[in-house]
Amino acid sequence: MLTQLLIALNGLASAVAKPLLMPVAWCPGWLSITAIGAVTGIAMLVAFKYTSNQSAIRATRDRIKANLLALALFRDDIRVGLRCQGALLLGAANLLILSIVPMLVMFPPMCLLLAQLALWYQVRPLAVGEQAVVTVRLAEDRLDRLSAVQMGPSSSALSRVGPIRVPAQGIVCWSVEAREPGLHRLAFDLDGAVFSKELSVAVGGAWMPTSMKRPDRGLFELLLHPRERPFTEASPVRSIEIEYPERSSWTAGSRTWLVYWFVISLAAAFAARPVFGVHM
């Protein structure tokens, strides 16, 4: 049930993200991630405004201010000082509690959004002539068919090494060389059935969505790899994975984009707070 829901949500998120994130393909990486960070920051701010108890937050913040003022005014009175510090702690805890509901509301869409962003920023597509390892994982009850897995002919990629069958892990691997730019499908044959996986090949570091794995139906896998439909429970192939190269950048690199997006979205939300009159 949850799996079906997640598959449906992924489909919805992909449909929405496709036109919205299309400009990423044209912009420099730093610009697109900055813009997306700013927009999502403001969107989170607005969502926070309408999903939180603003009057309660305002009142709590006022109490915190009052206690801060009291701390400054009655510096010599220890009892007042301790009482104010206790009240400050309570106020902070109250603010945290008041933000739980908006956080819970925002959590699912943010997870879906981040999974969509990861398609663009987590790895980069292969360049023409570049090689990557492709791994097909079989279901545990089909390991005896490892030697029957074949990679189909393709004009987009050429098998350079393999297949290498690893019974201990239930996988078959190839090293494939990208031949043509574009979004392609690699096909694998097992006992007459064909299983495919998307392959992204770009020219000159161009941006395009890149799905690292066509997953099985595990929830976490579905969340992390939203672009391609998962294999069914009955499928002898559990997953197909391509090890794409990392993207190197201070802003939109494989190891930095998430932190950079988070910082930009926070900064944008704080900057826009007075404009939208949001109490946080």
Binding site: V133, R160, G162, I164, R165, Q169
Partner: protein, 703 residues
């Protein structure tokens, strides 16, 4: 506060508070917001211009080379005889053109003609007495004859903090421990220091005899260290070889390590041996486990190491793989890391699985030890070119000598090195503006060691059939042609604008027969007892008057210098020296051939402040001969003269007069007998810098 009147504002300003920050007094001095913004913009602009000026034209940055360009291509081991023959055959058109345009000459090499000595001569513009490097290997006389590498030495640290089973060296207050450090043992002033002091840029790529890289005082000298740079294990290069038929217990062989693989099904687990975990009380090597999965049907295998999957067909090399070595630290200290790089070669899948791993090089993108001056230089190159070899000896001659590689595998690996170097050469030329550019090629040296064989001098190769020896020698000739193309390229780009010097540190000769100095000393009663197998283990110093260590050095066991010395300085020493020279120079092989061309007294050929560790005698071998392999580390063999069964079948550690290097230049060479020590004065002269007294060489453009 903003509701206060003007007078109120004035009085509060006077008391230190600023009620209206933008206003001072009077309408003519109003500091408007627009003014503040313009002021800030102007300040930022001025700052930017200043910073740009600092980086591009500041006093510490701008080159005073005034557009003068000198390009030196160092081709290790390029031989003048072979060059002449190939030029005559029309196979080196670019070098022929350079020779016709300027000049071509033999270049006198160092005594002894070993690369570290020769390149140090080049660096100092003076002989070994100035830089103190006399051989690959030196010895500590106060420890009798404990050997060490001559070019660099790692000195032990001082002080540590014991914590569990760790020894921590904390180099800050209040501990102030001194960690171990590697020091460059080359002495004297390198010629680039004189350029640096005059703000003239000099850039060196893979400079030998300069590890760790010497610092630049004024920031105009940049250098990547070459020969002498160690691998992650602290050696000159230790490969690792895994095979099903390797000995059950891993063994270390000179320059390599063999370990057995045991497959469970078609998978096996092995471990890559890395640097020592120096933070432990009892240091031991850090091991990184990796898995091997083979597929006999595909004749291929997959290696899984630290999350990387590497797929290889039989005979295929992997790309560079980054390996992280984690040094253990006691809690709560964070784990320390050192990054290395290596490449895998799948030699055989079945029936005997064989896998070769290159020496673990220091990762140039995150060097664990300084490899360049400034340290960022090598990182910038790695950022643009990707990973590359950083050890001094890049062609894996040890793998060939120990039989891990066959000739074709060695050549393939050497070709990878050459391709790497050619890419770096492009990078070097693209990033060159003016001043001195030095670029070093090692391929001609190490490929010659393996493939050189001049059949005219010695028709019979010690290990190869005549036809095969000739075919392999053809590889060397083809390599010369390839390098000739590089010279042509640089000449096309800079021929009219730069002084171009193409030089080598020495030439080459066959190495068919080997001479064991210590065995010879034993046979004449200079070294005892007769049963002695090594001067490092079972020699009787109280009955030993002379010993050999290194390739060309012979030392007297001198009283007052050696710990257990017995030869009295003065008359006894002189008598012994004369006797040794006379007897050595009269050594004949079984066919009557002279083995040793000349024996030099170091007191006669070396001068300078750095002669303390010099051997007493330097043996100059005749062509075709060299010190035996065992001699280098003081071992003895039953016979004095032996065939050389090694794949390393050519060498240059003969008499210096037998193996000169080459000098090509696009300017006329006027010196009658140019020498390595003349190159530094020549370069200084090209930039109008006077030659310091410490240099004994002279410019080659002076008659």
């Amino acid at each position: 506060m903003t509701q206060h009147g003007a007078s109120g504002s004035a009085s509060e300003s006077a008391s230190g508070s600023v009620p209206d920050a933008g206003r001072v007094t009077g309408s003519r001095h109003v500091l408007s917001r627009r003014r503040v913004l313009w002021g800030a913009a102007a300040a930022i602009g001025a700052g930017g211009v200043g910073a740009a000026g600092y980086f591009s034209g500041g006093i510490n940055r701008v080159s005073r080379g005034l557009g003068k360009k000198v390009i030196v291509i160092g081709i290790d081991g390029m031989d003048p005889r072979l060059c002449r023959a190939l030029i005559e055959a029309g196979r080196l058109p670019n070098l022929a053109k350079l020779a016709a345009e300027g000049g071509f000459s033999d270049l006198a090499t160092s005594i002894p003609p070993q690369s570290p000595v020769a390149w140090a001569n080049f660096i100092n513009g003076a002989g070994p007495g100035s830089h103190g490097i006399f051989d690959f290997i030196h010895r500590h006389p106060h420890e009798q004859c404990a050997p060490f590498f001559s070019a660099a030495e790692t000195l032990p640290g001082d002080g540590f903090l014991e914590w569990d089973d760790h020894r921590l060296q904390l180099d800050f207050w209040p501990f102030n421990h001194k960690p171990p450090r590697t020091v460059l043992r080359r002495q004297g002033v390198p010629f680039w220091d004189y350029l640096d002091a005059r703000r003239i840029t000099s850039v060196f790529y893979d400079l030998p005899s300069n590890y760790p890289p010497s610092p630049s005082q004024y920031g105009h000298h940049r250098c990547i260290s070459g020969m002498g740079t160690p691998d992650m294990l602290g050696t000159y290069g230790t490969y690792q070889y895994y095979a099903e038929d390797a000995p059950a217990d891993a063994i270390d062989e000179g320059g390599g390590r063999r370990a057995r693989l045991v497959f469970d099904g078609e998978s096996a687990r092995a471990s890559l041996v890395g640097p020592e975990d120096s933070l432990l009380e009892t240091p031991h090597p850090i091991r990184v486990a990796f898995d091997i999965h083979r597929d006999r049907e595909s004749d291929a295998a997959m290696i899984e190491i630290q999350g990387n999957r590497i797929l290889l067909n039989r005979g295929q090399w992997s790309r560079w793989v980054q390996v992280d070595f984690a040094l253990s630290t006691p809690r709560p200290f964070p784990t320390q890391h050192a990054g290395g790089i290596c490449r895998f070669l799948l030699q055989e899948v079945a029936p005997n699985f064989r896998l070769y791993v290159t020496p673990i090089n220091v990762d140039p993108s995150h060097p664990a030890v300084p490899l360049s001056e400034p340290p960022s230089m090598i990182q910038a190159m790695a950022k643009e070119l990707g990973l590359f070899y950083t050890t001094g000896f890049q062609e894996d001659h040890k793998a060939r000598s120990n039989g891990v590689f066959n000739d074709d595998e060695f050549r393939a690996q050497a070709t990878i090195v050459l391709e790497d170097r050619l890419a770096q050469f492009e990078y070097a030329v693209d990033n060159y503006d003016d001043g001195l550019l030095f670029f070093y090629f090692s391929s001609s040296d190490l490929q010659s060691h393996m493939f050189w064989w001049n059949g005219d001098e010695n028709p019979t190769h010690p290990t190869r059939a005549t036809g095969e020896a000739a075919a392999r020698f053809e590889h060397v000739k083809a390599l010369y042609q390839r390098l000739d193309g590089v010279i042509g390229d640089i000449h096309d780009r800079y021929g009219g604008k730069a002084t171009i010097l193409v030089m080598s540190d020495h030439g080459f000769a066959n190495f068919g027969r080997q001479f064991n100095v210590n065995a010879w000393l034993r046979d004449f009663g200079y070294l005892n007892p007769r049963e002695c197998t090594s001067i490092l283990t079972d020699v009787d110093w109280s009955r030993t008057r002379a010993y050999g260590l290194g390739i060309n050095g012979l030392y007297l066991n001198r009283k007052g210098r050696e710990r257990d010395g017995i030869v009295e300085p003065g008359e006894e020493q002189e008598k012994l020296t004369r006797q040794l020279i006379a007897r050595l120079q009269s050594v004949r092989d079984f066919n009557g051939a002279k083995v040793i061309r000349k024996v030099y007294r170091s007191s006669e050929i070396y001068s300078g402040d750095a002669t303390a560790l010099a051997p007493d005698l330097i043996i100059g071998y005749a062509r075709g001969y060299r010190a035996s392999w065992e001699t280098c580390l003081g071992e003895l063999t039953p016979d004095v003269l032996l065939d050389n069964p090694s794949a390393w079948s050519a060498d240059h550690c003969a008499d210096a007069l037998e193996v000169p290097g080459v000098l090509f230049c696009n300017r006329s060479i006027r010196a009658k007998q140019p020498s390595l020590i003349d190159i530094a004065p020549t370069i200084l002269g090209e930039f109008g810098v006077s030659v310091p007294d410490s240099m004994t060489g002279h410019g080659v453009f002076e008659s």
